[in-house]
C-alpha cells in the first residue's frame, strides 16, 4: 500500500470505524490501518467502563428498598391527615437523587471510556450492540440498571457467537423489566390458576415495581395474572428476524407463552435472590408451542431457549442485523454487496461476531474515501473530546448537551434505539445547538494549542482545503478549533 493511501485509510479507520481520532492516533494506525483495527477484536469482548461496579441485582435491591421506604413515609403522612411532614419528604428526595446519581455515574464512565480508549473500534462495535439491544432509561427503575446491563449482558459477548449475546440479553433482568417479561404469567399456569382461587393477588404478594408506585393501580380490583407479549414481539421484530422476518401475531403470542416463567427474584414470587434471573415453573404456560412453523415440545425454560436458538440461526436474522451493521458503520444506504459480504461471514461462521467484524474491516466498500455518515450527537460530543485529547470530568459536561441535541443519556425513547439516518439528526435546530456547543467547548479545550495542528491530528488526510483555509484564517485559537468541530468533514465520519 502506498504511503498516501495508508494515510487516508488510517484517517478512515480512526474516524469511521473508531470514535474520532485522538492526537497521535492516525499516525499509530497508518502503519497498517486494517491490522490496527483487527487487533482490537478480542474474544473476551469489549472494555468495561470504570463505574462503581455494582451489579444489576444490587441496583434492583436498592431500588426496592427505596420504594419500600417511600411507601412507609407516605403511609406515615396519610396517618397525619394526608399530608407529608415537610421534613419527611427530604429523605425520599435524597434517596431518589442518589439513585439518579448512580445512573449519571454509569453514563459518565461510559463516555469517559469512549473519549480515552485506544481501541475505539472495539467500543463502537459495543455501542452498536447496546443500541441494537436497547434498554431505555424510561423511568427510575430502568435507569438504575441500564449501566450494569450493558456491562453484564452485552460487553462480554460482542465478539462471541450471536446466540450467546442474544441469550444473555433476553434473560437479563434489565431487559425483562424493560419489556415487561417479569410480569408475564402463563394464563393456564399453576400460578395463574391458584391466583384465581386465592382471590386478589393470590398468595404471591404484589411484587415490586411500577404497580407499587401507582396507588391507583394498587387499589384497582383484582385482576387475573396473565400474558404480556411485549418482549416476545420485540425479540422478533427488533432483535432477530426483523419486522419482515415472516412471523405472525400468532407466532408472537406463542413465543410469549413459551417465555412465561422467565422472571426475576423478588418479583411475583417468594423464590430467588432479589433481582437475580429466575425461572418459575409454576408461572410457565404448560404445553407445546408452535412458532414460525416449528413445534416446540420442550419443558420449562428449555422451550424458549430452543426458540431463541432457532431465531438466532435464521438467515433473516443474519440479513436484518448485517444490514444494520452496514448502515451503522458505512452509509445510510449501504451497497448490497457490503451487506452480502457480512451475511456470508455470519452464516458461514454460525453467527460468530468476531468473523463479522473482520469481514467488515476487509470489505472494500467500507473504505470509500467520502465520509457519508452524519455523526449522532453522542458521536459528535465524544469525537470532540477525542480531538481535544480531553475527557469529561462531570455528567453535567455531557448530559444536558446530549439531551438538548435529542440524544438523552441512556434514553432513546423506544426499544428501537437511536436512529441511524442523517435526516433524523441534521435538523436545523440540531445544527444550531451543535454550533453553540462547539463554541463553548473550543473556548475551554483549545488551551493555547494551534487549531491547524489539532485539525491535522483529528482529520488527517480527510481535511478539505476549504476547512484548512477557514481554520488558518480564524481570528482566535478557540474560533479555529470550533470551525474544525463544525466542519463538514468533522460532522461526518
Amino acid at each position: 500500500m502506498a504511503a498516501a493511501d495508508r494515510e487516508l485509510k488510517a484517517a478512515i479507520a480512526a474516524t469511521r470505524f473508531g470514535l474520532g481520532a485522538k492526537p497521535g492516533e492516525i499516525a499509530e494506525a497508518s502503519r497498517d490501518p486494517q491490522g490496527w483495527l483487527k487487533a482490537q477484536i478480542r474474544r473476551e469482548g469489549a472494555d468495561q467502563p470504570q463505574s462503581g461496579g455494582e451489579t444489576t441485582a444490587r441496583r434492583i435491591a436498592d431500588l426496592r428498598e427505596f420504594q419500600q421506604q417511600k411507601r412507609e413515609v407516605k403511609q406515615e403522612g396519610a396517618a397525619n391527615g394526608g399530608k407529608l411532614a415537610p421534613e419527611a419528604r427530604d429523605p425520599v428526595k435524597l434517596a431518589q437523587k442518589l439513585l439518579r446519581d448512580d445512573t449519571q455515574t454509569d453514563f459518565l464512565s461510559r463516555v469517559q471510556l469512549a473519549t480515552a480508549t485506544d481501541a475505539a473500534f472495539r467500543e463502537r462495535w459495543a455501542l452498536f450492540w447496546t443500541n441494537h439491544f436497547t434498554v431505555a432509561a424510561k423511568n427510575l427503575q430502568t435507569a438504575t440498571v441500564v449501566g450494569p446491563y450493558e456491562a453484564e449482558a452485552i460487553r462480554p459477548h460482542v465478539f462471541g457467537r450471536f446466540i450467546q449475546l442474544l441469550g444473555a440479553v433476553e434473560t437479563h433482568p434489565a431487559m425483562m423489566i424493560y419489556l415487561d417479561q417479569v410480569q408475564s404469567v402463563g394464563p393456564n399456569s399453576e400460578m395463574a390458576q391458584r391466583a384465581k382461587g386465592f382471590g386478589r393477588r393470590g398468595r404471591f404478594g404484589g411484587g415490586f415495581g411500577g404497580a407499587r408506585l401507582q396507588p391507583a393501580a394498587a387499589a384497582a380490583p383484582r385482576r387475573d395474572l396473565g400474558l404480556n407479549e411485549n418482549l416476545a414481539r420485540e425479540i422478533m421484530e427488533l432483535h432477530t428476524v426483523g419486522v419482515h422476518g415472516g412471523y405472525s401475531q400468532a407466532d408472537v403470542t406463542e413465543f410469549a407463552r413459551a417465555m412465561t416463567g422467565l422472571s426475576i427474584g423478588g418479583f411475583r414470587g417468594p423464590d430467588g435472590q432479589i433481582g437475580e434471573p429466575v425461572f418459575r415453573d409454576v408461572a410457565h404456560e404448560p404445553g407445546q408451542r408452535m412458532v414460525m412453523g416449528v413445534r416446540y415440545d420442550q419443558h420449562g425454560k428449555d422451550q424458549s431457549a430452543a426458540i431463541l436458538a432457532d431465531l438466532a440461526g435464521k438467515p433473516q436474522t443474519a440479513k436484518f442485523i448485517c444490514g444494520k451493521i452496514a448502515r451503522h458503520f458505512v452509509a445510510d444506504d449501504p451497497s448490497p454487496a457490503l451487506t452480502a459480504r457480512l451475511e456470508k461471514a455470519w452464516m458461514s461462521s454460525g453467527g460468530d461476531l468476531a468473523r463479522v467484524a473482520e469481514a467488515l474491516i476487509e470489505a472494500p466498500e467500507a473504505w470509500a474515501p467520502q465520509p457519508t455518515k452524519f455523526k449522532t450527537p453522542y458521536e459528535f460530543i465524544v469525537s470532540s473530546y477525542r480531538a481535544a485529547g480531553a475527557q469529561p470530568q462531570a455528567f453535567g459536561q455531557v448530559g444536558p448537551i446530549l439531551t438538548a441535541l435529542g440524544q438523552k443519556p441512556f434514553d432513546p425513547g423506544s426499544p428501537k434505539g437511536w436512529a441511524e439516518e442523517a435526516d433524523a439528526w441534521a435538523a436545523p435546530d440540531g445544527i444550531v445547538k451543535r454550533m453553540q456547543f462547539a463554541q463553548g467547548f473550543a473556548a475551554q479545550a483549545v488551551q493555547g494549542r494551534d487549531p491547524k495542528a489539532l485539525a491535522a491530528e483529528a482529520l488527517g488526510e480527510r481535511i478539505a482545503p476549504a476547512t484548512a483555509t477557514a481554520i488558518a484564517r480564524a481570528e482566535s485559537r478557540p474560533e479555529g478549533f470550533a470551525l474544525l468541530l463544525m466542519s463538514p468533514e468533522f460532522q461526518r465520519r
Partner: protein, 431 residues
C-alpha cells in the same frame, strides 16, 4: 429580551441574505398570492401532534356507555370520573382543558381511526402514519412535507418542527424549520457567518444551518410574545432560555417532576403558538410526544397513561391560550400509530392493537359529535378478535382537513401527498 430586540432587525436581514446565497426559498419571507389573501387561506394554521408508542384510545376517550367496555377493561376501566361527552363517550379526566374546548364545540373525537398498516409494529406503523403511504417504506418523505411542497406552488407556506430531531412527517424536499427551547443564537455573530461560508456547497449542513438561524431570529420575537402575556395566561416563568427540556423529554410518569413536566409542556405549546402568531410565522407545525406504550400498569383516570395525557393536554392548552385570536384559524390533530388491545392484558396494561382515537381541536372546527362510526366492542365486532376495529382511514381524516382548511387540491391529496390514496375518501364538513 429588550436589548436583543434592538439587534433583531439587522441580524435577521443578515440571515436572510446569507440564506439567499444558497438559493433557498426561505420560508419566513412574506409573500402572499392574491387568491390566498382573498380567501383568508394564508391565515389558516394546522398543527399535527404525534403521540408515539400507541396511545390507548379506549382510555383517552373511553366509551363508558358501550355495554362491553367495562367488562373488557376490568381494573383499568374508567367509570364516573370520566368527563362525559355524550351517551357513549367521555374524555379521560387528565384531558381537562381539551374537555373545556369540547364543551365549547372546539374539540371532537375520532374514536375508531387507523392507518392502513396492520402489522402492530410501532416503528412500521409510525412510518406509515408519518409518510402517508399506504404501506411501509412506501415513501421516504412525510405527508406534511409534501403538503408544504404542494401548497408552495400556490402560496408561501412554511413549516416548523418542534424538538431537537425532525420527525419523518416533516422530512422531505420542501424546506422546514425546527426549534427546541434553549439559548437564542445571534445569527450575525462571527462563527455562524464563517460556517455558512464553509457550508456553501454542503447540501445537508448549508440549508439546515440557514434555516436554524432564521428560526432563532424568529424565536426572539416569539419569546417576546410569550413574555408579554399576563402572568395568568403564561402560568409559567417566561424566561424562555431556562429549560432545556422539550415535551419529548419530560419527567417520567409518577415522578415528582410531573408538575414540572406539565409546566414544560404548556410552555412548549405557548412557544409554538408564539411562532405561529408571527406575521410570517409557520402555518404548519409538528410536535412529537412519546411514552404512550403502556404494556403494564397503564392505569385509568390516574396512572402512567393519564400522566402522559396530562402532558398532552398541557401542550394543547398552551397552544390554545398562546394563539389567542388566531385560534379561530387553527386546526390541531392529535394522532397515534395504532391503538391497543380491547382487553386489558395480564399485567394491568394493553398490547399493540389496531384502531385508536384521534383528537381534533381548534376554533376553525365545526361543532359536532364523534367523527366516523363507532364499531362497538362486542366480541364479534373486534378486529381479529382482539382490537378495536377501524371504521376510518386516518388519511381520509387528514385529507379532509388539508383540503377544506388549508386549501390543498384534491388531486394533489390523492396522488402526491398521500400516494395512491383515492380509495381513502376525505372526511368533509369538519371546518
Amino acid at each position: 429580551m429588550t436589548p436583543q430586540s434592538k439587534t433583531f432587525a439587522p441580524s435577521r436581514r443578515g440571515v436572510l441574505a446569507a440564506a439567499g446565497a444558497f438559493g433557498l426559498s426561505l420560508q419566513f419571507v412574506a409573500t402572499q398570492s392574491f387568491a390566498a389573501a382573498e380567501s383568508g387561506l394564508e391565515k389558516k394554521k394546522f398543527v399535527f401532534v404525534i403521540c408515539r408508542g400507541g396511545m390507548d384510545g379506549l382510555t383517552t376517550a373511553p366509551p363508558v356507555g358501550d355495554p362491553d367496555y367495562a367488562g373488557l377493561r376490568g381494573p383499568i376501566a374508567l367509570r364516573d370520573e370520566a368527563l362525559k361527552l355524550d351517551g357513549t363517550f367521555a374524555l379521560n379526566p387528565a384531558l381537562s382543558a381539551t374537555y373545556a374546548l369540547a364543551k365549547a364545540g372546539e374539540a371532537r373525537i375520532v374514536p375508531a381511526v387507523a392507518t392502513p398498516d396492520r402489522a402492530r409494529s410501532h416503528f412500521e406503523a409510525q412510518d406509515v402514519l408519518e409518510s402517508g403511504a399506504n404501506q411501509v417504506y412506501g415513501a421516504s418523505s412525510g405527508w406534511l412535507n409534501r403538503t408544504v411542497e404542494s401548497l408552495g406552488r400556490v402560496r408561501k407556506v412554511s413549516a416548523l418542527s418542534v424538538g431537537p430531531t425532525a420527525p419523518l412527517v416533516l422530512r422531505g424536499k420542501a424546506p422546514y424549520a425546527s426549534w427546541s427551547p434553549g439559548k437564542i443564537v445571534d445569527g450575525s455573530a462571527r462563527l455562524p457567518t464563517l460556517l455558512q461560508d464553509l457550508y456553501k456547497t454542503d447540501p445537508l449542513l448549508g440549508p439546515a444551518l440557514a434555516r436554524g438561524l432564521a428560526t432563532e431570529a424568529m424565536a426572539q420575537e416569539a419569546m417576546t410574545n410569550v413574555a408579554q402575556m399576563s402572568p395568568a395566561q403564561a402560568a409559567v416563568t417566561p424566561a424562555a432560555t431556562q429549560p432545556p427540556q422539550t415535551a419529548m423529554q419530560m419527567a417520567a410518569p409518577g415522578a415528582p417532576g410531573q408538575r414540572q413536566g406539565q409546566d414544560a409542556a404548556r410552555k412548549l405549546g405557548l412557544s409554538l403558538a408564539g411562532f405561529m402568531r408571527e406575521a410570517n410565522g409557520p402555518q404548519i407545525a409538528a410536535v412529537s410526544l412519546d411514552g404512550f406504550d403502556t404494556h403494564a400498569n397503564e392505569g385509568g383516570a390516574q396512572g402512567q397513561l393519564a400522566t402522559r395525557l396530562a402532558y398532552l393536554d398541557a401542550v394543547l392548552d398552551g397552544l390554545h391560550t398562546g394563539l389567542g385570536p388566531e385560534w379561530k384559524n387553527t386546526v390541531v390533530v392529535v394522532a397515534t400509530e395504532f391503538g391497543r388491545t380491547a382487553r386489558v392484558n395480564g399485567t394491568g396494561g394493553t398490547d399493540h392493537g389496531t384502531a385508536s382515537t384521534a383528537l381534533l381541536l381548534g376554533g376553525a372546527l365545526k361543532p359536532g359529535g364523534i367523527v366516523g362510526d363507532w364499531p362497538g366492542l362486542k366480541q364479534s365486532a373486534l378486529f381479529e378478535n382482539r382490537d378495536l376495529a377501524p371504521t376510518l382511514d386516518m388519511r381520509g381524516l387528514f385529507k379532509g382537513l388539508l383540503h377544506e382548511h388549508m386549501g390543498v387540491e384534491r388531486a394533489a391529496l390523492d396522488a402526491a401527498v398521500f400516494p395512491d390514496s383515492a380509495a381513502a375518501k376525505p372526511v368533509l364538513g369538519l371546518v
